[in-house]
């Protein structure tokens, strides 16, 4: 067991994957010399050389497009989109190419590529550097989407993403990069699509992922003082998501709140509650409630951003609606 930071765990996963498999290559804006905007790829250029760790021009469309072609030609590229907001510039390569190649070519080819992208606010980066756009990607058949909440999962989900034969988007919450946690030795594997119950409880199920896991746990502690015993499920993987685990929890608690930092409307939470309103209908004792950002772009000013991002208080309020 080693205590490392979230970003270091991803760094370690990249090192281990690249050491084990020479077809794993890294490219993106400033991932080499500079070690990445958040230091996640620090030291990799020196360790693996300029062929496998490559600084690219500021060309998001070509970075992700090239990853598709490289993956179809025998490499397992891991590319970085510096901020998730810039995914807009890569959408053709992701949506029309990577996601569809296997399907539209009749299963002739897989596209084993990973696209890393930091999302989320908390650093006052403003409307174009703070968004959580994961629902867009989870909506596209052919893509997988994961979002770790802690050090051990950051390592394991990165390894799983690299080993996966399909395009996987690894979403890293910027606010988590400096968070510390224990990385088991050897690190334990995590399968894409498997959720984890981080707190057991009998009164209500809180389904969440990424940085909102810690927020939801904080909310659960507040609720405990009021005598409400909340179960917290960390989805870890958004596409596919562990419907069975969530349904199993709902069958015990009969109440559910879905939380994310992304805008509430048309989000991952909307899919979760829609499914459970269907397959979990017989279990429900209360309305399914969502927590997410208000329907506006992420604002810059500290006071505005603090208000915008869902916090424990908002989760508590949502749970109270669900148990009323």
């Amino acid at each position: 067991m080693t205590e490392v930071r979230f970003g270091q765990a991803i760094n370690r996963a990249l090192i281990d994957a690249m050491t084990q498999d020479s077809s794993v290559v890294l490219f993106g804006e400033d991932v080499g010399e500079a070690g990445g905007p958040f230091g996640v790829t620090r030291g990799l250029l020196k360790k693996f050389g300029a062929e496998r760790v490559r600084d690219t021009p500021i060309s998001e469309a070509a970075i992700v497009g090239a990853a598709v072609g490289a993956a179809m030609t025998g490499l397992r590229p891991v590319v970085e989109v510096m901020f998730m907001d810039f995914v807009t510039l890569t959408m053709d390569a992701l949506v029309n190419q990577a996601a569809k190649a296997r399907f539209m070519f009749g299963g002739q080819v897989s596209v084993p590529m990973v696209v890393r992208m930091p999302h989320g606010g908390g650093i006052n980066a403003g409307p174009q550097h703070s968004q959580c756009l994961e629902a867009w990607l989870a909506h596209v058949p052919g893509l997988k989407v994961v979002c770790p909440s802690n050090v051990a999962d950051a390592y394991a989900l990165m390894r799983a993403a690299i080993e996966d034969d399909d395009p996987v988007i690894v979403i890293e919450n910027k606010a988590l990069y400096a968070a510390k946690g224990d990385l088991p030795e050897p690190p334990a594997p995590v399968a894409i699509g498997k959720a984890r119950t981080v707190r057991t409880g009998k009164d209500v199920t809180i389904v969440t992922y990424g940085a909102m896991v810690a927020v939801s746990l904080a909310a659960a502690e507040i609720l405990a003082k009021d005598g409400v015993d909340a179960e917290v499920i960390d989805l870890r993987s958004l596409q596919p998501w562990d419907e069975a685990a969530v349904l199993e929890s709902l069958a015990r608690t009969h109440r559910l709140v879905a939380c994310h930092e992304a805008v509430e409307a048309f989000g991952v939470g909307a899919e979760i509650v829609a499914r459970l309103a269907d397959v979990g209908f017989d279990e429900l004792d209360a309305p399914l409630v969502r927590v997410g950002a208000p329907f506006m772009p992420p604002p810059f000013a500290k006071s505005l951003e603090d208000w915008y991002r869902p916090d424990a208080g908002r989760v508590v309020a949502a749970v109270k609606r669900a148990i009323a």
């Binding site: 062929e51 070509a62 072609g69 490289a70 296997r102 009749g106 002739q108």
Partner: protein, 336 residues
């Protein structure tokens, strides 16, 4: 323009003519099948552009990878695709290259390095760049090639791809089929520069050829391919060619000046090659034999395609993601 001086032998030219005839025969048949409602959706024909497909794709090795575009039937056939599976796909059959999920705009055959036609203008460029990067890193000795039209010059990703390929000296051959039309608009209303000039801006050596002269195209392609394969970085071959049919089949082309069609017959790469064969002393019967062979092959392929079966939704659904068992989890194994 590298044209005119090249004097092929009849032994060299006859197979090129036959390959072009096969593509022409395929597309004329596609047009008929489309008209008869045997092909769903829509198709884009490259009639008049056969010399670029045969001249370039025919000069590639099987392990060279090729990214194509929406007008890609000729590219696919010249790269060596099986004609029956090609027709099966375009006619939406289970036995087709893509199980009937792709159709005309997505024909692909990984076994011969054909990374796919593409429905998005310019999208093949970064895919070929990535494929070239893989060839470079894996030291395969193969190169990547990408076909695009002059219309793709207006796409931002083309500029990104040129820049990246040139910066990294990637083994990639860019082939611009300059037919002067971006869908329904002429180049003069679309482009502020010319393909080869743009490539040169990125320090990519470019050669302009008469794209309707199969011998000139092949000579330019062979020379560019040799330079690319030798590690000289990317090259561009710009083939000035002619789009005879509309943007899509059924397009009445009301936007085109009738006068433009007056000399289309004279430009026809097949007619030019046939005339040249006659001048080289090839018997009319030998040319007719090549035409007949193409017809026969297409007849057989269409018959096979008509006998194909409808795709099953279950199989389509199962191919959205890779089967989980395909690759054992190395990390899971190591930790187990």
């Amino acid at each position: 323009m590298a044209t005119g001086e090249l004097k092929p032998s009849s032994a060299e030219l006859l197979p090129l003519y036959a390959d072009m005839r096969l593509i022409r025969e395929v597309e004329q048949r596609l047009s008929l099948l489309f008209g008869d409602g045997e092909i769903p959706g829509f198709i884009h024909l490259s009639i008049g552009q056969e010399a670029t497909a045969v001249g370039v794709a025919g000069a590639l090795r099987t392990d060279d990878t090729l990214a194509s575009n929406h007008r890609g039937h000729g590219h696919a056939i010249a790269k060596g695709l099986d004609l029956s599976r090609f027709f099966l796909e375009i006619m939406g059959r289970r036995e087709g290259y893509c199980g009937g999920r792709g159709g005309s705009m997505h024909v692909a055959d990984m076994s011969v390095g054909m990374l796919g036609a593409n429905g998005i203008v310019g999208a093949g460029l970064p895919i070929a760049v990535g494929s070239a990067l893989a060839h470079q890193l894996r030291k395969t000795g193969a190169i990547a090639c990408v076909f695009f039209g002059d219309g793709a010059l207006a796409e931002g990703v083309l500029h990104e791809s040129f820049n990246m390929a040139a910066l990294w000296k990637l083994p990639i051959l860019f082939v611009c089929e300059n037919n002067g039309w971006s869908e329904f608009s002429p180049a003069e209303r679309q482009l502020a520069t010319e393909p080869s000039k743009l490539a040169e801006t990125f320090k990519i050596p470019a050669e302009r050829v008469d794209g309707n002269d199969v011998v000139a195209v092949r000579a330019a392609a062979l020379s560019a391919i040799e330079a690319v394969r030798a590690g000289g970085g990317p090259r561009l071959v710009e083939c000035k060619t002619t789009r005879v049919r509309g943007h899509f089949e059924g397009d009445p082309q009301k936007y085109r000046d009738a006068g433009e069609f007056d000399d289309i017959g004279r430009k026809d790469p097949l007619k030019r090659a046939a005339d040249e064969l006659r001048a080289l002393g090839i018997a009319e019967a030998d040319i007719a034999a090549a035409d007949e062979a193409a017809r026969r092959r297409v007849d057989e392929a269409v018959a096979a395609a008509r006998a194909g079966t409808a795709p099953a939704p279950e199989a389509a659904l199962a191919d959205v993601y890779s089967p989980e068992a395909v690759r054992a989890s190395a990390h899971a194994d190591a930790a187990a």
